[in-house]
């Protein structure tokens, strides 16, 4: 089988081998220009309006901002736009029911009242920065620490190849970027993701992690391939001590083919994290139809087997950035609704589509907490951008229980909103009133909770009592014990680009020129944002070498030897990680 062994992993061979057989193709429906304009005329315009819905998109070829139609056909949701070179259609959501169900939880309020550019946003997404039109504050700030990388992924145009300019912001620039997002008004960023390239290649990484905490960030996560962490237990210890909360780690599948980046190294990474006592790991599978979409259930099962260190799985349906022929898009396109369906199939219907909630449901919960405690944090992305749920492991009965089997999530969130409305009418909320209200909420919570179906050992009622009656929210952290967070975040590309999603984006990149840019403009229009600004702030190869005389490009790179994979294949730690594991869903076909 094709494998990245005896070389710097690039994934090219594995991708070719795994795409030789096509299991299914998404047939895009045809729509004529006349039909398109007729539909556009009658389409809804307000955010979250029923289908057909009018929005704006980007022409993949000319980059013009063009009108687009989000519409339904055969139970699926499509996006079609009229570009100068013709009509372009792509899949928006595989399931219209999921689309409408998520739309119900949309958040319409604007939560950001500061800007970083004078542009008004009328030319969105060409005005980014943040502009005054942007509606959501930064929930997760990304800072690119370097474009150096230890892998050489065949599809990546971003990492610095030999001889190419190197982008690596100074500590002073990083501090400024952190401050800029922290001072957004009225709600500053609180979580930062240090990303790359490969951020562990920076020698001053520990200093940067500490700096993020100094600047008031509560959550620091490291977006990494984990390779360095496999071979340097001391580094794992140091990044944990410095305050890294989460390793946001690439993990694309269960075999060396589907997960060519770090399949062989993962057992060592896990061992090192266990020894260091953290940080918690979130696995990040980039999800691609016909490539690894048959392994989503197995990835969840794998994570449940390592629940002592794995806190979550965040599936990222592929973003097909760049010019991609229609045939290829039909082969590889999968959306959140499609991934949810796969998970339902691959977990024997243990995790079903009704178990998932869109990200902006958090906005409705945040409203209550703002009224009740004064704390402000609004995760108010577009309803189509992401989804999440929690599943709990009942170890005694070896069963997996999604949260809404024992908690009426929708009912409880609805109740919290009612309470928020009530509190908002009050002029003040004194201690006694708060205690009384806390007790009332706790009593009411019992009616949304069913102990019979809750996993054993999970003392939900105690946690809720502590939170609402005694203001002890730290206790809610215990909720994560025996729980696995499951998330999805579908970053866009030129073909499914929806400007309405961009203006509500909550995952942003800081740039050293003072701008803060939504993820899907930073990466989808790199010639205006990512690549351009990094070119302005890069060092030429010669400048970099002069500044770092001991640096050697080849030493940055990871060379996976045949001896290493053989040693791993026969090791106890490999067996413990991949083979001697429980099958919680009774469906696993793929074993390493």
């Amino acid at each position: 089988m094709a494998e990245s062994v005896g070389e710097i992993p690039s994934g090219e061979k594995e991708f070719k081998a795994s795409t030789r057989r096509i299991r299914d193709i998404v047939e895009f429906p045809e729509i004529s220009e006349d039909e398109f304009y007729a539909e556009l005329k009658k389409a809804s315009r307000a955010y979250g309006g029923s289908l057909p819905h009018r929005t704006y998109s980007l022409c993949p070829e000319t980059r013009r901002v063009v009108p687009a139609l989000v519409w339904e056909k055969d139970g699926k949701v499509w996006i079609t736009k009229k570009c100068p070179e013709g009509m372009i259609t792509d899949l928006y959501y595989e399931d219209v029911d999921v689309y409408y169900c998520f739309s119900k939880w949309r958040w319409e309020e604007k939560e950001l009242y500061s800007a970083n550019v004078e542009n008004s946003g009328v030319n969105c997404p060409l005005d980014c920065g943040m502009c005054s039109r942007h509606r959501s504050h930064t929930n997760l700030l990304n800072i690119v620490l370097t474009n150096r990388c230890n892998l050489s992924c065949w599809y990546c145009f971003f990492y610095a190849k030999e001889g190419q300019p190197i982008y690596e912001p100074t500590l002073e620039q990083i501090r400024q970027m952190l401050r800029n997002a922290k001072k957004q008004y009225p709600i500053g960023a609180n979580a930062v993701q240090l990303t790359g390239g490969e951020p562990t290649l920076r020698e001053d990484l520990i200093e940067i992690i500490r700096m993020a905490h100094e600047e008031g960030y509560d959550h620091v996560q490291l977006n990494t391939d984990g390779i360095k962490l496999a071979f340097d237990p001391d580094l794992v210890e140091r990044i944990r001590e410095a305050g890294t909360n989460t390793l946001y780690m690439s993990y694309d599948g269960m075999t060396p083919q589907t997960n060519w980046k770090n399949h062989w190294e993962v057992p060592l990474i896990f061992e090192n994290v266990r020894k260091a006592g953290g940080p918690g790991i979130v696995l990040v599978p980039t999800t691609i139809r016909n490539v690894n979409d048959h392994e989503l259930g197995a990835i969840i099962n794998f994570s449940l087997n390592h629940l002592d260190i794995v806190r979550g799985v965040n599936f990222q349906p592929i973003s097909q950035v760049g010019r991609v022929p229609k045939r290829e898009r039909q082969r590889f396109r999968i959306t959140i609704a499609g991934a949810i369906k796969r998970i339902e199939e691959q977990t024997n219907s243990v995790i079903i589509k009704e178990d998932w909630y869109p990200i902006p449901i958090a906005g409705h919960i945040a409203r209550f907490f703002q009224a009740f405690t004064g704390s402000k944090y609004y995760m108010t992305s577009h309803f189509a951008c992401g989804a999440a749920t929690y599943v709990f492991l009942d170890r005694e009965h070896k069963r997996v229980v999604p949260i809404n089997r024992f908690l009426d999530v929708e009912g409880f969130v609805g109740y919290l909103e009612e309470k928020a409305e009530e509190i908002e009418q009050w002029k003040t909320i004194g201690k006694l009133k708060k205690l009384k209200l806390g007790a009332e909420i706790f009593m009411k919570f019992r009616s949304f909770y069913d102990d019979k179906y809750a996993p054993k050992g999970l003392k939900v009622l105690d946690l809720i009592k502590n939170a609402f009656m005694h203001g002890n929210y730290d206790a809610l952290g215990k909720f994560h014990e025996n729980a696995l967070f499951l998330g999805m975040m579908h970053f866009m590309d030129e073909y499914n680009y929806d400007v309405e999603r961009v203006e509500r984006c909550v995952i942003h990149y800081a740039m050293p020129d003072g701008r803060v840019v939504p993820f899907c403009t930073f990466n989808v229009i790199p010639e205006l944002y990512r690549d351009k600004v990094q070119a302005q702030y890069s060092y030429t190869w010669e400048e970099w070498k002069a500044l770092h005389p001991d640096w050697d490009y080849k030493k940055d790179k990871y060379f996976r030897t045949k001896e290493f994979t053989e040693k791993m294949r026969n090791s106890e730690v490999y067996r413990k990680t991949y083979i001697d594991i429980e099958d919680y869903f009774g469906t696993i076909k793929t074993k390493a």
Binding site: N116, R179, Q536
Partner: protein, 102 residues
Amino acid sequence: MSVKPDKELVRLDLKFGNIDWERATIKQYELEKELAIWRIFLNGYTKKGFVVFDEGLITKEKILEALAELQPEITAIKRLTVGELVESSMSWNNILKGARAG
């Protein structure tokens, strides 16, 4: 070398005699791609705009030439440094008027 904060830039404030939203976005994209352009905003509705650029890489004349079909007229020229541009972008300097109470 990575940009120094004292690097000098030029800002042109403009008004346009012949512009609409579509042509404004097309022109903004064309110019915005250039490494020499640090900031640009062409508003097809108010018929105003501005360009902040590195005079060492592109001249004022070249910019006006690129915008010619929009019939640009310079209303102000200002010099600023990269450091000043970055500082002026910071969130604390740009709280929106009429912002909702925090």
